[in-house]
């Protein structure tokens, strides 16, 4: 089963290596990992999608907690959450097929962010299903290049993965 972990870490050099190294040396499978700063410049947040049964997840969580730079871990898989991914896709787009592509872009509420003579760059955000569907729809036109961010996620409602109780430290 796939789990989504929201992980708060100290924004120290090497923290990404520590986390990634832990996963590889203990043989855990990362589906995706995305990282960026939070509202506090000292703290970064990782969204890690990891594949494994409950026992593996228990070990992943415990081993992550052993890293000194890891402050908080939330497995939000079984909770209500919003998740998003961003993808940029460069497709082949001769003038003859541009109209068709623009229709697809509209249907998915994606955006065209660059136009070349023979190609377009399309930006799309959404959950994983939507991103996959966009990719499938654009495949026939020839995908020249594709980059996606990996999943980021946040709990709905009042619940949060944050350090508000420690705010005065910052």
């Amino acid at each position: 089963m796939r789990h989504i972990l929201a992980v708060l870490v100290e924004n120290n050099p090497g923290v990404l290596t520590r986390v990634a190294g832990l996963f590889s040396r203990r043989g855990y499978n990362i589906d995706s990992l995305s990282v960026g700063r939070t509202e506090s410049p000292h703290i970064s947040r990782m969204t890690i999608v990891v594949e494994g049964d409950d026992l593996v997840l228990e070990q992943v969580t415990k081993q992550l907690h052993k890293l000194i730079d890891v402050i908080k871990i939330n497995d939000i898989t079984s909770e209500q959450y919003v998740d998003r991914e961003l993808v940029l896709i460069k497709v082949g787009a001769d003038p003859s097929v541009r109209g068709e592509i623009i229709q697809i872009v509209d249907i998915f509420r994606a955006r065209i962010v660059d136009i070349g003579r023979r190609s377009l760059i399309i930006e799309c955000t959404g959950d994983e299903g939507k991103i996959n569907a966009v990719m499938e729809s654009l495949k026939p036109f020839g995908i020249k290049e594709l980059v996606r961010t990996g999943k980021i996620a946040m709990l709905r409602g009042q619940k949060a993965t944050s350090l508000n109780e420690n705010r005065e430290d910052d």
Binding site: V9, G14, Q59, K62, I68, V70, I71, N166, D169
Partner: protein, 553 residues
Amino acid sequence: MPLSGAQIIIKSLQEEGVDAIFGYPGGQILPFYDALYDSSLKHYLVRHEQGAAHAADGYARATGRPGVCVATSGPGATNLVTGIATAYMDSVPMVALTGQVACALLGKDSFQEADITGITLPITKHNFLVNDVCDLARTIKEAFHIATTGRPGPVLVDLPRDVQVNKTKFKYPDSIHLKGYKPTTDGNKGQINNAVKMIGEAKRPVIYAGGGVVISGASAELFRLAELTLSPVTTTLMGIGAFPETHLLSVGMLGMHGTRAANYAVSECDLLIAVGARFDDRVTGKIDEFAPRAKIIHIDVDPAEIGKNVRIDVPIVGDVRQVLTELNSKLQQHLATDWQDKVVRWKEKHPLVYKDNGSLKPQYIIEQIYEVTKGEAIIATEVGQNQMWAAQFYQYTAPRTFISSGGLGTMGYGFPAAIGAKVGRPEKTVIDIAGDGSIQMNIQELATAVYYNIPVVVAILNNGFLGMVRQWQEIFYDRRYSYTEITGPDFVKLAEAYGAMGIRVTDPKEVKPALKKAIAANRPVLIDFIVEREENALPMVPPGGAIHKMIGG
């Protein structure tokens, strides 16, 4: 008055109560060594950085205080790696300080640059690269805090040259703020109550004690638990000394080279109380057949150890000593049943034995060391047969008297570790039980022992083989002795060349006099015991086998 980074390091070490450091200078750690020259800190110059790491480790295991080692950048730092990994696997508190090229030269493949924080990432509890002298005192404080609390382990602090040179005002911090590091020490009350209930219902309990008991100083509490519950006690290699092996309830070590009594007891028990142990594969053998009839209570300070290898019925995360104190206070005195009799009968029926055929047997030498030292020495070991015989044929009664590389199994560990142990516990007789293979891996430290007159006795069980590997070749590879026959120097002459005392023993009758002479000499001594060449360390569980199916012994 502002101090240089180097001076700040020295002051910080003194604030931490460090009284001995083991190290080796070099270009990028020169500012530190210059400041050291004026300080009262005792520094031991080793002959190879690996020796420094093992000596710091041995010091830590013998005293319970953190060991400190120092090396320069690049090759100096990488030479520490095996020693750091050794300490990591056995949860030894250690702080390793390494020189590094100046911050501006980092990442440019500079002379003697190695990414030692990257290299040691998976073998340290944590590490730091300090890039501002203003962070230095706080970082060292954090390094010692992390190394010594929770589940201890090595912490490396990488010190670029300019950070050692730059100046700032020194103030050693009073407190520590690490958001992501708060070890649990108190056991969960509910789980402790569950354990009390489970112990009350058990008919055939066994205590399986590991290095965590030694580390948390919980021997007295373990003793009380054993006597309250009348549980036979087996220890891991790392747990040796946590419970007196002379006690009626002791069944000795378990696992691959454990006693039959220990392995049978674990296989038949209905409750296994695991205390500060981690269900290592050398202990459990075939995991599906390990303690198959038992419910398991697991007490450990590291939550990640719980449920890692085996399913646990009652997990208790906390400091072993605190948890056992709490647990003991809730237990009733149990009465003896057939179970204790049965275990005692196993002990009587299957003692550790060897064939006495008049030749010089390694096991006999260990027994004589036990007699001569009255069981009061600190025994360090190398790795292999010497280590197993040292574990089996000497009866340990106190914690921190058996010093051995358990997790990593590092050949060459014992001798420098013995030097560190003797520095930390000068009042103790310290003996390194070695093989002729292992001793050659860090033999250069004889010069260190002689120079500082650290009177360590090295007992080489010399069989001209890499004995444990040869044993496996004999049993599992049809006696095809591929590259396990090994030669060495004339160890007596070598000892004398280094300025130590050398003694050769070939006859069983000479063993005791030689040991007495070596201990009385009060200087470094190397005894070359020429032992029977193809003696095996038995009994033995074949790798991957169930622990009650032992061969030999």
